[in-house]
Symmetry: C2
Subunit: 434 residues, 2 copies
Amino acid sequence: MSGTTQDDYTDRYARRVRGMTTSEIRALFSVANRPEVVSLAGGSPYIAALPLDAVGEMLGRLAAEQGTSTLQYGIGQGTAALREHICDVMSMSGIDGASPDDVVVTVGGQQALDLIARVFLDPGDVVLAEGPTYVGALGVFQAAQAQVAHVAMDSDGLIPAALAETLDAVARSGRRAKFLYTIPTYQNPAGVTLTDARREEVLDICAAHGLLVVEDDPYGMLSFEGGAPRPLRARRRDGVFYVSTFSKTFAPGLRVGWVLAPHAVREKLVMASEASILCPSAFAQSAVTQYLATMPWREQIKVYRETYRERREALLSALADLMPEGTTWTRPEGGLFVWATLPDGLDSKAMMPRAIAARVAYVPGTGFYADGSGTAHMRLNFSFSAPERLREGVRRLSGVMEQELSMRAVFGSAGRTHHRRGAAAADAPGPDVA
Amino acid sequence: MSGTTQDDYTDRYARRVRGMTTSEIRALFSVANRPEVVSLAGGSPYIAALPLDAVGEMLGRLAAEQGTSTLQYGIGQGTAALREHICDVMSMSGIDGASPDDVVVTVGGQQALDLIARVFLDPGDVVLAEGPTYVGALGVFQAAQAQVAHVAMDSDGLIPAALAETLDAVARSGRRAKFLYTIPTYQNPAGVTLTDARREEVLDICAAHGLLVVEDDPYGMLSFEGGAPRPLRARRRDGVFYVSTFSKTFAPGLRVGWVLAPHAVREKLVMASEASILCPSAFAQSAVTQYLATMPWREQIKVYRETYRERREALLSALADLMPEGTTWTRPEGGLFVWATLPDGLDSKAMMPRAIAARVAYVPGTGFYADGSGTAHMRLNFSFSAPERLREGVRRLSGVMEQELSMRAVFGSAGRTHHRRGAAAADAPGPDVA
């Protein structure tokens, strides 16, 4: 029995946790995982596409034959063997000549972001980030007591002129911008990709302002229409941190990601990681190393690509066929997500309980902004569910929206929910839906 | 090629990383892992004692048969199944009636400490801790920009009067003490255990001062002479955080630990964990759950106990037979470590390079203090090496010490190395030797 429900600890908390409150949306999401609900909310890869028997056999051997090392402590930076493979993986994306010595293995891409934040962010520092951006990154920046300045995107990704303007505004306000956090390829949640020309512009603007760049690239290999543009880190080395993960190309349940850092910073990241988790799992690292060394992982990525392309088509067709007039959405060329904009007057957050009641779930747009905006948007995932289920989800969702629209036509609208600045982090869904 | 060696990022770092420098001792430890070196430095369990074939078979099945969940994302708090098992494990130690809802699964005990620090520590806050204490905890508190006030121990563990005095001194200085961090049972590195009577006293003092208690109990099950005293958390629930891990009872390579927290705080810890790592590994959690559910884990702990008891005897006999006069050491009733005090005039940190040259490694005492003290001490591990190898290590070590003593007799001593406050964290060894 855990008895006490009153929070007797409030006056002892660190400043960074004040304002952290449990979200109603989180509570809704626990319902969203029920089998009768079609969830368009998750960010989960379709693990059933993996050759699970072969993976099982591989993992079993790693413990039986190499258990005295794979089940033991390891070093904070991660194993040399995995870091070498990671450099090979990055070279496939166009990042040539990276040194394994400059790679730090992390607990998924999330920990890489956290380590960078710990090494660079003091309370009050500013991080620039696309608006909308990854929920988990907002959580990191909030925990670091940093302020997020969103930079607008269009269908070509981050708008360079908006970046320059935002940087100027931050400088005028006397605050210090430490880095740009960006997901240039198949962005989460927007589903858009920064064009080649803009990549150069963005790098030039950051270099001119002495701004570091944190490039988060979990989806780059999941392209549906030819390859992705070369990463920022492939174009410029100085001042660029490259973060990625095996969660989308192999399996998220092992929690293995990495950061390629400028050499001078790598040791700080390792020390920050040791203070946080001592060392990444030796077993998980061996599993990924063995997977890359002995299994047809490039072919597996093709399987993921084909599967997700088909599902994207299914989602886009369903949206075109079923969504109420006035709804718009992005058309991603890779990745896992479509970003939808609702007809005027609809509020994705307010609508959420009714969607759950109609057995469909999505992530309201507010989760992806630090400033409470985003009520007009929602993120829809297409990687996890089969095509017919995606269509059924859109059917249910459009039903809810039609109902909202008719109610609005009858009773008028009180306008979209007003959100105070800082309220957004509490709306962030849990990791099962990130 | 990683090119740049100059640190161009210095003026961008957060305040918490200033003063973090790479340690010479860390560099030495990379040498200490060579096979010709007898390492008394590590903190590694003797994994070869596990039934690795059976563990391998179990892990293989988890991926092959349940891969769509074990290789997928999970929730931030950890699986309900594992949290229930953890409550069973804790009840074996005397902690009855804990709710799985109040348990947060973490990446080893280290992440549990980090989460508690994130939730409670602002820069300048004070943490009380035994002197000496766990290296990794000092790393956490330094990263949180907290100050550590050490409390003296004797062979009965933490001295209650010293705790009260330290609390008064902190209060007089106008700083705020947030919690006592303590390893009451088979302490790392000191190898001593807080007596029953003192446990009550310590709890009373903390309660009277409104001080939270963070009880770190990784070794409690590794008792050599009857059971361990009941944990602090078994005696008092309010204000006590109980941290433990499967690293010493199963395998550290999976990185699975936990914290049992007061109910009101649990959600903050979960949110802090999500911001740091999104969620703990579903695969590692399933592995531990399955291990606890289907394998003879209580018998395995007995195997560890027997093995370590025999090795402790070997180490203690070797010390008695071979150490130079004036050396003293603790006699642990469980756990992994002996804490040795050198004859007057010897400096464990200064002696380290010569010890490595003589093919023996230990952890100098300075790593276990936040204030640079500890040069007169060293930590010796007895869990990892076989008895005859432990004896050989002590033989080499005593040879180095004898040599140091005769040099001192001939040339006199410049006294022990002086260490400035704050220098200690840089001496901390990497996780492979923690």
